[in-house]
């Protein structure tokens, strides 16, 4: 028990909290925008955490976030979301393409982060409003975007349109290869 081999060297091979309790799902090129990949962490209790995939342009080196806005339209702010009781009454119901927030960078580029799945919004991460850098430092943990509770009967079907980790990694590998080809052709 004391000598957990995987943890011995303190290396990255140890299964993390996410590895132990969550399944990773991906949405690539959200809304047709290249590389705007989202990662959905589904807990074994069906709760989903929406995060940026490592490949999202926001996480590219040299980008600095200047503003995160959960006010997605004049009438609707995700910050006003309130749920009450065990059954989480009152949360905003989101569909696949419902925007969660808009993130603006110092270079004037703007990205919209989407729900990716149908379900009830439980909370958005307010910590990133105070420390936008969290989003880039720890995109899959402390820099999460939102927590969504899918309907009980849809908890299996919501992932049908998403990519598994393997499929996503293949897609990214293909994308990198294509890019390399493009570069060589241009030069």
């Amino acid at each position: 028990m004391d000598d957990d081999e995987e943890h011995k060297d303190g290396g990255a091979a140890a299964p993390s909290v996410i590895d132990r309790y969550y399944t990773r799902w991906y949405r690539a090129d959200m809304k047709g925008k290249p590389c705007e990949d989202h990662c959905i962490l589904q807990h074994s209790n069906r709760i989903c955490v929406i995060t940026l995939a490592e490949t999202h342009p926001l996480l590219e080196k040299g980008r600095t976030i200047s503003n995160i806005d959960y006010q997605i339209s004049n009438g609707c702010s995700r910050l006003n979301n309130k749920v009450s009781g065990k059954s989480k009454r009152g949360g905003q119901f989101l569909t696949e393409f419902a925007p969660l927030c808009r993130i603006t960078c110092t270079d004037e580029t703007q990205f919209t982060i989407y729900s990716c799945i149908r379900g009830r919004l439980l909370e958005v991460n307010e910590n990133i409003l105070e420390r936008p850098a969290l989003l880039q430092e720890k995109p899959s943990t402390d820099g999460y975007i939102a927590v969504i509770l899918p309907k009980f009967e849809e908890s299996k079907s919501i992932t049908e349109n998403l990519l598994s980790r393997d499929d996503f990694e293949k897609l990214v590998a293909g994308r990198d290869a294509a890019q390399a080809m493009g570069v060589t052709q241009q030069s």
Binding site: G10, V17, N45, K86, N125, D142, V147
Partner: protein, 476 residues
């Protein structure tokens, strides 16, 4: 010789031909003599076949139908072979009630190290056995629509109330060998030790499914049940469904399964406390609870049992001590201490303690960066740290979303190597320790990752003590 009567002869032949085992034939002939079931299976089968043959000989040959002739021929051919899996009991009264099975049940009981002189056997059968049984005792008779006259004559012998239950026959067969195997333990009708033997036969579970369309109201799907087709629901539906409808939907004779039930699951429940008070049941409540992978060590956890409808309302302290000894002697897996009678107010105090008490934990923590003695000293210095915990994602599906303030009274770290240390914690009850260590996506603030400025994870967790001075300690 088997205690069969002349009028049983026709039925015996029919039942054998349709795939009933010898003992099920005896049951359908309402043989209520336990000894009849205790003979060897093959011997009984041979006797029954001989008995049925006699019957054929007495009958007018002209009345015999070709189908019957065939089955007779087959039965002659198969006389020396073993019978197939019974279409009704699915093997329970065949190989599953052999002496070797009694040994296995006895072993399961011995393993628990009970010190008792009696036990009660309880048998649980697959629900489809009821369906299959009905298919056999149904009056318009014995798989032979072409001779209704004969069928009606047989109905008299087949009063379904008198048919011997599979459970009953199983107990008659097994209890002798079981008691011999266990030595001084007798199989009784009532005993605080209940040994339940559960049979399942997934291959034929679908037998019951047609009942759902005829009696939908009997099968309410409930979250806690694995299947809506419980024995109670199936029995209720079978009471409701008229014979003609049943005949339309269910094969007769029942289909022959390819294999019998798997070896049964044996569970033992010792009801010392219930027996001492003569209670009908209980509600269990405890001072808090842990995750499945967390052990509760130390002096254990305070708990209370509410006894339902007890026959006695008081027990002398000596008798209580006795009950405690019986519990502690009955298994190596459970220990109780300071067992005593308490009032309703004491039980509610235990529940209040759930929020107010302190708990001590011991955790094994891994950190990404290597930690040094000054990190340890820093952790050890922390006192009464106020932690804001959002309902952990791990339990958010069943608890309301809220931020709860909890106190970590003190911590002590014990370095194991650069990346591992043992962390002792004393905290206010209700603190989620796992989340305090890994931070739960930054939803518990502060957390150990923030305090040590590294990535940290929790590998093991044990409760060392639940610090509540309840119940009062008793002298030994």
């Amino acid at each position: 010789m088997l205690p069969l009567k002349e009028k049983d002869k026709a039925i015996v032949g029919k039942l054998l031909a349709s795939g009933c085992c010898a003992r099920c034939v005896l049951r359908f002939c309402c043989i209520g003599v336990p000894d009849a079931y205790r003979h060897g299976r093959r011997e009984t089968l041979r006797q029954l076949r001989a008995f049925a043959e006699e019957n054929h000989d007495c009958q007018n040959v002209g009345q015999l139908e070709p189908a019957r002739k065939r089955s007779r021929l087959e039965s002659e051919e198969a006389a020396d072979e073993d019978e197939g899996v019974c279409v009704v009991c699915l093997g329970v009264l065949q190989h599953l009630s052999d002496a070797s099975q009694a040994v296995q049940i006895a072993d399961a009981v011995k393993k628990e190290k009970y010190e008792v002189d009696t036990l009660v056997l309880s048998i649980s059968l697959p629900a489809q056995v009821c369906v299959r049984e009905r298919s056999c005792w149904l009056p318009p008779c014995h798989f032979d629509q072409r001779s209704p006259r004969l069928a009606r004559a047989k109905c008299g012998a087949l009063g379904r109330r008198d048919v011997v239950q599979v459970k009953e026959a199983f107990k008659w067969i097994v209890q002798g060998p079981l008691a011999r195997e266990l030595g001084a333990v007798a199989v009784a009708a009532k005993s605080p030790l209940e040994v339940s033997v559960c049979f399942a036969h997934p291959e034929t579970d679908a037998d019951c499914h047609f009942l759902a369309s005829t009696c939908p109201d009997c099968f309410k799907v409930s979250k806690n049940k694995q299947s809506a087709f419980t024995r109670m629901a199936v029995a209720k539906a079978l009471e409701k469904i008229p014979d003609d409808k049943f005949l339309e939907r269910s094969p007769r004779p029942p289909s022959r399964p390819s294999s019998g039930c798997a070896p049964p699951e044996v569970r033992c429940v010792h009801a010392s406390v219930l027996a001492a008070f003569g209670a009908r049941g209980f509600n269990f409540s405890s001072s808090g609870r842990e995750d499945v992978d967390v052990r509760t060590l130390g002096n254990g956890r305070p708990f209370a049992l509410e006894l339902l409808n007890p026959r006695k309302s008081q027990l002398s302290p000596e008798s209580m001590k006795n009950v405690q000894q019986v519990i502690n002697a009955s298994s190596e897996k459970v220990r109780v201490r300071d067992l005593q009678m308490v009032g309703r107010d004491a039980a509610s105090r235990m529940k209040e303690g759930e929020e107010e008490k302190t708990k001590s934990y011991r955790a094994l923590v891994w950190t990404q960066k290597s930690i040094r003695e000054d990190d340890v000293a820093f952790v050890n210095r922390i006192e009464d740290l106020r932690v804001d915990q959002k309902t952990p994602l791990r339990v958010l599906h069943r608890r309301a979303l809220a931020v709860r303030q909890r106190l970590v009274h003190s911590m002590s770290a014990d370095l194991l190597d650069e990346h591992h240390f043992r962390l002792g914690l004393r905290t206010q009850a209700g603190t989620y320790i796992k989340e305090f260590v890994h931070g739960d996506f930054g939803r518990t603030k502060p957390n150990l990752c923030q305090l040590l400025d590294t990535h940290a994870d929790i590998l093991e967790l044990d409760v060392e003590s639940v610090d509540v001075d309840w119940p009062p300690a008793l002298p030994d």
